[in-house]
Amino acid sequence: MRAYVSVCRMRFLNGLQYRAAALAGVATQLFFGLIFIMVYIAFYNGSTVQAPISLQDIVAYIWLQQIFLAFIMLWARDNEIFQLITGGSIAYELCRPCGIYPFWFAKLLAQRLSSALLRCFPILLIVFFLPEPYRLSLPESPGAFALFLITLALGLLLVVSVSMLIYISVFWTLSPTGSILMVSVAGEFFAGMIMPIPLMPQWLQTITYVLPFRWAVDLPFRVYSGHIPADEALWGILIQLGWLAFLVGTGRLLLRRALRQVVVQGG
């Protein structure tokens, strides 16, 4: 266990080095957040239909999405791992006295944590002080905030376990770009990153509820604003745990099978 914690810490410190890039990221995310909110305001303004989610909740949804983008984006990738697999250096990785699955898992987790932590505080500071329709509202209640933190953390683990599957698939496909592109485009849509899930038509919402992606993104953000009440959130946590067990189990199984096929050539 100590080894995984320390790889986590090392990656984390490494990620903190790129402060200029983080600053640029902050500016980009603020801009995107503002633009998206303006579009939703325009949709809400002239509308005569009753929307299933309030504009204030949408604004919170969008800001949280931008703030925790590093937690939830599926297209983030660690080229080191790809090169390990396609370049053959995987042999060294196999020599380590610890399991590859938890080792990579810790590494990917730390990358997302460090890049989110660098970016979230400046954005938070700004979006709490924006003028009215754009301001991020405070969480619904202390209880909702606590549930938000739990679901967000579990959501992060879910996203990492999904991306582990992408890395493992490279053992068979050898070229990461195609599979990543497909998984991340579909995953993003069904997570509610393109449009918030409550605004989707009913049949589409049903699909998103059976897929894992929604539980990593949509659930925590709506728990924050109170759009998902506490009792429903508790059920959500159970479902998150179920998915997590399933995805990690599948990942470990597939990785073991992949490693059995690996033939290390000398030289």
Binding site: A42, F43, L181, V185, A186, I194, M200
Partner: protein, 259 residues
């Protein structure tokens, strides 16, 4: 022309990995597809967008995405320019007896972006055929101008971002605000935004000149001389000239990293 020689070389080399090429092309097809699906579903939910109908917004979407994918196909060399400078390969381009802009432009082509292109083209045809607009030669011409002008603006932004590499070596993520962000922003009619956004993206980076303003002419919503709105995209295209100038200045002050 040497640019097209480069192009055919890249095309043939990318086709060597056929399966990967088609998979990427397919993926590129689906990226804007999911965004467009979002747009469609939002209109299904709300009916309109501050007075704009779905097909009007779809036309705007198609023009910007077509322009973006064209510029990604053909001007991608500038986008990956930081690696040329960082690796010292730019020095090699400098000693060749050709213009640097053309060589950098030719250093990379992304033909798998054709997936994106096809998707936007389908949206364009759908929007054009469903809009209750009396199409005239002038309007069709304006539409073409919009796409060409948009492509030039995106190319100009790529050039500006590449020029920055001369001083910073690394590419800057901020440039994404103007390429990806500009695309996200300009896929809707510009007047739904706050004033500062509209002003910035009309007078500084003239996306408004290639999408929103000529769109008013096509949809017969103009007040004032229609010819002015019709030729707006030309004004937008002028944006690329100062970018080219900045690029030339950058090349002149270039000092190799020595690697």
């Amino acid at each position: 022309m040497i640019y097209f020689r480069y192009m055919s070389l890249h095309f043939r080399s990318q086709l060597q990995y056929r399966a990967s090429f088609w998979l990427l092309t397919l993926g590129q097809f689906f990226i804007p597809f999911s965004v467009f699906a979002g747009l469609y579903l939002m209109f299904e939910r709300f009916g309109q967008l501050q007075g704009w109908s779905f097909f009007e917004a779809a036309l705007c979407f198609a023009v910007i995405h077509l322009a973006f994918s064209l510029s990604e196909c053909f001007a991608r060399g500038f986008d990956s320019f930081s690696s040329l400078v960082g690796g010292g390969e730019f020095d090699r381009l400098l000693v060749r007896p050709r213009s640097t802009a053309v060589q950098v432009l030719g250093s990379r082509f992304e033909f798998n972006r054709i997936g994106r292109l096809v998707q936007s083209a389908i949206v364009l045809v759908w929007a054009v055929s469903s809009l209750p607009v009396a199409w005239t030669a002038a309007k069709a011409f304006t539409l073409v101008l919009m796409i060409v002008g948009g492509t030039l603006i995106f190319t100009g932004i790529y050039m500006l971002a590449a020029t920055l590499c001369f001083w910073t070596i690394q590419g800057l993520e901020v440039a994404n605000i103007f390429t990806d962000g500009g695309r996200e922003m300009a896929q809707y009619p510009l007047n739904i935004y706050q004033k500062w956004v509209t002003v910035f993206f009309t007078f500084i980076i003239p996306f408004g000149c290639v999408s929103y303003l000529p769109l008013l002419f096509i949809l017969d919503r103009v007040q004032g001389p229609p010819l002015l709105y019709m030729l707006m995209p030309l004004g937008g295209a002028v944006f690329v000239l100062p970018c080219l100038l900045v690029w030339l200045v950058g090349v002149r002050y270039y000092r190799s990293t020595g690697s």
